[in-house]
């Protein structure tokens, strides 16, 4: 990384940029709060678009417009090139492999209705790892290594991304 010592004017510009983003962030926060409340998934400027896409039934990954690195979950800084605010939502078929799974019998009160929860770790073809619920037809007979797809499904009255086993 090249050492960059900012001038006073540049610092003023950076401060202004953060302040101006805050105006937009506040507007997004109100939308997020309206649909998801103040609990999990928690608001972040980087993830609000992801959760909006989930509400419309689409599971998206993110790609950095500067270095093209695909990552998940979304964040305000690209983990590879450290450019800020360069994440663009990108469509995915959501296909991957079941790395492992567990059937969880002891859960927080909020999830009690779902017990036992079948939890899965899925590695997508794009090279990202997802932890989610394993649901849908055939979920009970799954084995490590089975092909899976990430889809959007309503669980406990909310849309979430979940894994389905595919043939």
């Amino acid at each position: 990384m090249i050492l960059h010592i900012p001038t006073h004017d540049q610092l003023e510009a950076v401060a202004d940029a953060v302040r101006s983003r805050e105006t937009e962030a506040r507007a997004r926060y109100e939308i997020h709060k309206f649909h998801w409340g103040t609990g999990a998934p928690f608001f972040s400027e980087a993830t609000s678009a992801f959760w909006e896409a989930i509400r419309s039934g689409r599971f998206m990954l993110n790609r950095c417009s500067a270095c093209r690195h695909v990552h998940f979950p979304p964040r305000v800084v690209c983990p590879k090139c450290w450019q800020e605010d360069t994440a663009e939502p990108v469509e995915t078929p959501g296909l991957g492999k079941l790395v492992t799974f567990t059937e969880l019998h002891v859960v927080s009160p909020a999830l009690k209705e779902l017990t036992p929860i079948r939890m899965a770790v899925v590695d997508l073809e794009e090279g990202v790892r997802i932890l989610t619920w394993l649901r849908g037809p055939g979920a009970e007979g799954t084995a490590v290594g089975d092909p899976c797809r990430i889809v959007v499904e309503t669980v406990l009255d909310r849309p979430w991304f979940v894994a389905h086993r595919v043939e």
């Binding site: 998940f72 979950p73 492992t100 019998h105 989610t132």
Partner: protein
């Protein structure tokens, strides 16, 4: 550089207490000071634990120091989880060296009984992985260890019986520990028929969440020399982190491998000049049976370590109990007893170096603490 040594240790038995954390800690401080042979006027620095939201007394360290009438010059708080415990140990030595203090006390308590397990999952562990993308699905350390265990079995690297055998051994070892919660052994059949909590983990493969407290006292060289045969040296730490928090950035990596553990022990051995064969006793931070198999593998020990090595003679969290933020005190206490030759029926003869492994599973960090006797000799049963 001024040499610093651990001179005293005190813990209360694992249990379910109505006594608040302050009471339990004060009892441990007195026990540790007696064990150390130091006067309270010599304890001039204190490191306490950052209280949980469920703890009544906040700014707890200075509150307790005041209650005990300790003439302290310096007080600070650490979150005494696996990493925090290790930081506290190093910081205590720094306080002694920087300020020329005769002795510093490190203390903490955890009353897990005040928060039911399901609530604990909801308010705490759901937020320690990724609060928005992992936590909402019910992810807990127990379930990520289960995920790793399932993958390990599928890869042919371990069996459910291997995990059950860990619980059997730890429960057997806890029988002789006066501070353990479980004092009765179990059979492999009992473990394998106990109820499933997060497949393939069964109830008896999981630690009981208990209440507990502990205190250790570190002291300046001149204080340690009063009883050199009982003082314990803390060697340079080995540490590593994979820079990964649980799930998202682990794509392509098996859940059951722990690279940070392997790198941490290499770091510890490089810094101390020791090797595997020098270590006589190990106390790893193991809340779930499969984790022990994974950690011992990552440390570079053979599959048969349970038969050849002295691992968790205290019973570990599965046998002795798991007061989360006081766990490190119980591991240290056991290693101190072992090195002094004061571990009674649990004593391993001839121990020269003892090791605490503070690993965090799929939080992907590990700190290795190696201890030895101040007088440089090997432990003999007393």
């Amino acid at each position: 550089m001024t040499q610093v040594a651990i001179v005293g240790s005190g813990v209360v038995p694992n249990g379910i207490y109505v006594q608040p954390e302050d009471d339990l800690i004060m009892r441990c401080v007195v026990a540790a000071a007696c064990d150390a042979g130091v006067d309270k006027e010599e304890i001039r620095g204190v490191i306490g634990m950052t209280p949980r939201p469920s703890t009544a007394q906040h700014y707890q360290a200075q509150h307790i120091a005041s209650r005990l009438d300790l003439p302290i010059d310096e007080v600070c708080e650490f979150e005494l989880s696996a990493m925090g415990m290790c930081n506290a140990l190093v910081h205590a030595a720094t306080m002694i060296r920087e300020r020329n203090l005769p002795a510093v006390a490190v203390w903490g308590a955890s009353r897990e009984s005040t928060v039911p397990t399901t609530e604990f999952f909801g308010m705490r562990t759901s937020r320690t992985s990724d609060a928005s993308f992992v936590g909402p699905f019910g992810m807990t350390p127990m379930s990520w260890n289960a995920l790793g265990a399932r993958e390990m079995i599928a890869a042919g690297e371990a069996t459910e019986r291997d995990f059950a055998d860990v619980s059997v051994r730890l429960r057997r070892q806890a029988v002789d520990n006066p501070f353990a919660y479980f004092r009765k052994p179990v059979t492999a059949e009992e473990v394998l028929s106990s109820r499933m909590v997060s497949s393939p983990l069964r109830l008896l493969m999981v630690c009981p969440r208990t209440d507990g407290a502990g205190c250790i006292i570190l002291a300046r060289e001149d204080v340690a020399k009063r009883n050199p045969q009982r003082a314990i040296v803390h060697h340079p730490q080995g540490a590593a982190h994979d820079g990964i928090n649980v799930i998202s950035e682990r794509a392509g990596m098996p859940m059951w491998t722990l690279p940070s553990v392997t790198r941490a022990i290499e770091d510890a051995f490089n810094r101390t000049g020791l090797s595997h064969r020098d270590i006589g006793v190990i106390e790893p931070w193991i809340p779930f049976a499969p984790m022990e198999v994974m950690v011992m593998r990552a440390l570079g020990y053979p599959k048969e370590y349970g038969e050849t090595m002295c691992v968790s003679p205290s019973g570990g969290p599965i046998g002795r109990g798991y007061p989360l933020l006081a766990t490190g005190f119980y591991s240290w206490h056991e290693l101190i007893q072992q090195l002094r030759g004061e571990a009674g029926p649990r004593q391993r003869d001839g121990v020269r170096f003892a090791m605490a492994v503070n690993e965090t599973g799929n939080y992907n960090g590990c700190v290795i603490d190696i201890f030895s006797r101040f007088d440089g000799t090997a432990a003999r049963q007393r």
